[in-house]
Every structure is written in C-alpha cells, then in structure tokens.
C-alpha cells in the first residue's frame, strides 16, 4: 500500500496504474451533484471559489455530520455512486485541475478521457465502509455552501492515511472497471451454457 500526500507529486501521480492500492493524507473536499454544479457556475461567472481546487482531492460523499461544542464532527462518510456525476465530471476536472476523485462504482468514458487529458486519477473506496472512512478523517476543518444541505455541502476534511483506496482509473486511460466488464463479457457465453439459456 502506497501512502500518498495531497497535493500528489506529478511524477508519482503519472506513475500510478489501475490496480494500485493507496492511502491519502492531506485536505479532501466532499462534493456531490449540487456542489459540482455550483463550482462550474461560479467559475463560469468568473468568480473565485472559496477553496483551492488546483491539484485537490474531491470525495463523492454525503456524510453524516454532527455539531457539538460548536465543532463539526464526522460520524460516517462512505463514498456515493460516482456515476451520478458522469455528465458534469469532465468539465469539472478540466475547469478545476483536481488531481484525484474518490468515489465508488466508476465513471464513464468522457471522464476517463478528461482524467487522461488533465492528469487526474479515480480512487475507488469500498462502498458502505463509512466508519472506516471516518477513521481516516482526523478533523473537519470547515464547510462551504451549507445552504445546499448536509449531504450536498462541501466539507473540508483533514485526512490521515485515508483509505485504503484502489486506483481504478489512472492518468493513462487505464480503467479497472473496463477490464472487469470485458472479462465478464468474455465469460457470459459459457455462463449462459451452464444455465441452459
């Protein structure tokens, strides 16, 4: 398991290959559908974002947060289905210069292309493993756009050995999901025969 720190060194980033297992240490921003849309709107309007996205790690996640002693605490924070962001992620990656997207289930070809063009990787986190994910977050540093609601706001997380994460899409267009799909397709005729269909 490789321990990466954010921002990820360019040489390290381009050296990663689909199938590698890593952890992340540094600042992670959560962003789901609504936050993606607002980032693009703000940038299009020529406004500065309230957080620095260049080389950032973006986490597809709608956490369970609780505020006590005037501080936000993260209770559970597993990844959400990344495919929901398929239509906006290519623009998001190109516009922000993010270097890592953390999620589950993989993303479509236009995102894979944008990742190859801009130098960004997709890190698959185990879906449902929300308490394990929270263990890798040592503090909630802040929140932006809380008007979007708890799950959709941008939470600024202080991650320490966050993971384990699997490099599922690399900067060279390699995708673990595509490889698995191809293997499944290859096996289907014999599976059908065994079922008598």
């Amino acid at each position: 398991m490789r321990e990466l720190s954010i921002p990820i060194d360019k040489k390290v980033l381009y050296g990663l290959r689909a199938g590698d297992i890593v952890t992340l240490t540094g600042t992670i921003y959560t962003a789901r559908d609504e936050a993606h849309l607002r980032v693009l709107e703000e940038l299009e309007a020529g406004n500065d974002l309230p957080f620095d996205t260049k080389g950032a790690a973006i986490f597809h996640c709608g956490p369970i947060m609780r505020k006590y002693d005037d501080t936000w605490h993260l209770l559970a924070a597993g990844p959400t289905t990344s495919a929901r962001m398929n239509s906006i992620e290519p623009d998001f990656i190109r516009a922000t210069g993010a270097s890592a997207i953390i999620g589950k289930g993989g993303m479509s070809q236009p995102t894979i292309d944008a990742m190859r063009d801009s130098g960004c990787i997709y890190l698959a986190m185990t879906g449902g493993a929300a308490v394990l994910a929270a263990k890798g977050v040592h503090a909630v540093r802040g929140v932006h756009w809380l008007d979007l609601g708890m799950p959709e706001a941008v939470w600024v997380l202080d991650a320490v050995h966050f993971g384990p994460l699997t490099v599922a899409i690399d900067t060279h267009g390699g995708s673990l999901y595509a490889a698995v799909e191809e293997e499944t397709r290859r096996r289907l005729p014999s599976i059908r025969r065994s079922l008598g269909i």
Binding site: A77, T126, G128, V131, L132, T166, L188, I191
Partner: protein
C-alpha cells in the same frame, strides 16, 4: 402487552441495532468470501468491509452513511392492541435524531426533505397475522444504491424458467459495481407485478445459508449463485470471485397468461433486526 413508552423505546433500540450491526449469517458469509479471494484488489475490498463492520459495532455508529429508508415487516399477534403505526413513526423520528440516521426520505415531487425520515407511507409497514402469542417486528433499512438496480420483467409464459435465469443474470451484470456487491439477490417469481416485487424484497430477509423449503426454488438458487459468481464482477465491481452472497427466490401462483419476475438487490450491508413483543408484556430481541 408492553406499555406504549416501552414499545417506542424498544423500537428506537431496534432501529439502532439494525443500522449499526449486521446479522451473523451475513458477516460469516463475507468472511468466507474474504478467505476465498487471492487477488489483492478484492481481498482489500472485503477486508475493508469486515474492518468497517467491526468498527461500527465497537463505536455504536451506523455502518454505512446511507441508513436507507425504514421498512418494517410486522407479523401481528391476534390480540395486539397498541397503535403500531404512530409508534413506529415516533420511533423513526427519535432514531433519526439520536442514532443518528441520515435524513433520506423526501417528497417525491418537490424533493423537499423534512429531515425526519417520515412522510406518506414512510415508514413503510408490511403486515401479516399469526396465531402465536407475540408480535414480531423486523426492520430492514434499505439503501438507494442497491434499490435503484431493481428490475421487474413481465415475461411471457413461453419464456419459462430460462426466462427467469436470463432476467436475473442480466440484472446482476447490468448493475455491475453500482449496488455495492457482493449482493444478495432477491427474486420474486409469479403472482402479479406488485406481488413479484414484494416477494423479491421479502426474500432478502431470509438468513443466508438457510434452505429454501421448496426444492425446485432451492435448486434454482444454487444454480444461479454459482453462475453469478462466475461473472467475475466481484466485490464493488473491481473484479473477484464473489459477486453474490446468495440468491433467494420466492414464488406465488400466477395467471396462466402471466410470467412476472422481479429482482431486488441487497448490498453487502444486508441490514435487518427483529424484536418480539409478547402478549404478556415481555419484549425480546431476536
């Protein structure tokens, strides 16, 4: 009969248990799946899953941030006279605050989230009645990742059992990594459109490793489990030997001109918890 307050407290506890702990049959099957994998990627997925289950229990925290929508299966004693619906609603509102649950239930038209996990038909209750001196209440918190992969196919009778197998194979392959595999595959066969879909959901409540009393369904379950695990989709769709933890099928007689088949997938976080309310006032956690 328990007091109303005792019932509500017990239901809040039931909800907490349901979202924090996985039943032993599910944990054991996940452990077996981990032992079978030799490739590092699926091994790591299953290792993270098992670690997460232990951590959630240790810290009394919901094991997944998607605490689902609250579904209840109630088998009533003939003499139960407590107002179950309003008590379940109160219990869900309290649990949302205290456990806490993520507020997931929204108005389907406005998408407004009242923040309470309640609304029209929510919590949802499926009733049955039996002659025994207790009422059994099971909670199933059902997440959206797996529920969104549900399928109903109104096949033609001539498609026969082959059509059922094709529908199940297609549902699991199309879903890929999205429903958080390894999944439990609930299959509802026959009845009508609504009966098939509720049978498919209900089938998910049967503990893994228990035999289907119907020999033909048991054989179909075994055959499908083996075939689906040959797809190589694996844990979280990243490849591996275990794509499904099991296939559970239930059936109802159907119209001679119909052949409904429904498929409901359950993510690896196959959460369910049960309590029994005895007519004499005792409350027992199953």
């Amino acid at each position: 009969m328990p007091t109303l307050q005792a019932l509500e407290d017990a239901l809040v506890d039931l909800i907490r248990t349901a979202v924090v702990e996985l039943p032993p049959d599910v944990v054991n099957r996940l452990q077996e799946a981990y032992d079978q994998e030799d490739d590092p990627v699926p091994r790591m997925q299953l290792h993270a899953i098992l670690d997460n289950i232990a951590l959630a229990k240790e810290t009394n925290t919901p094991l997944c941030q998607d605490t689902g929508v609250p579904l209840f299966y109630v088998t009533r004693s003939q003499s139960l006279s407590l107002p179950l619906e309003s008590t379940l609603k109160n219990a869900i509102e309290r649990a949302t605050e205290r456990v806490p649950l993520r507020p997931n239930a929204v108005d389907p038209l406005s998408r407004h989230n009242p923040g309470t996990n309640t609304g029209p038909h929510m919590p949802h209750i499926t009733y049955a009645v039996h002659d025994k001196p207790y009422t059994e209440i099971t909670m199933m918190p059902k997440g959206a990742g797996s529920e969104n992969m549900s399928v109903l196919r109104m096949l033609t009778p001539s498609q026969g059992v082959a059509g059922i197998k094709e529908a199940v194979l297609d549902a699991v392959v199309s879903a890929g990594g999205k429903p958080c595999p390894p999944t439990i595959v609930g299959v509802g066969i026959g009845g009508s459109a609504d009966i098939a879909t509720s049978l498919a959901k209900h089938a998910l409540l049967r503990p893994l490793g228990t035999d289907n009393p119907d020999e033909r369904l048991a054989a179909l379950e075994g055959e499908l489990t083996e075939a689906l695990n040959e797809t190589g989709i694996g844990p979280m769709g990243l490849g591996g030997k275990t794509t499904v933890l099991g296939v559970h099928a239930e059936m109802a007689a159907c119209h001679t001109a119909s052949h409904p088949v429904a498929i409901n997938l359950q993510c690896w976080a196959a959460r369910r918890a049960t309590i029994c309310l005895y007519d004499d006032g005792r409350i027992e956690y199953v």
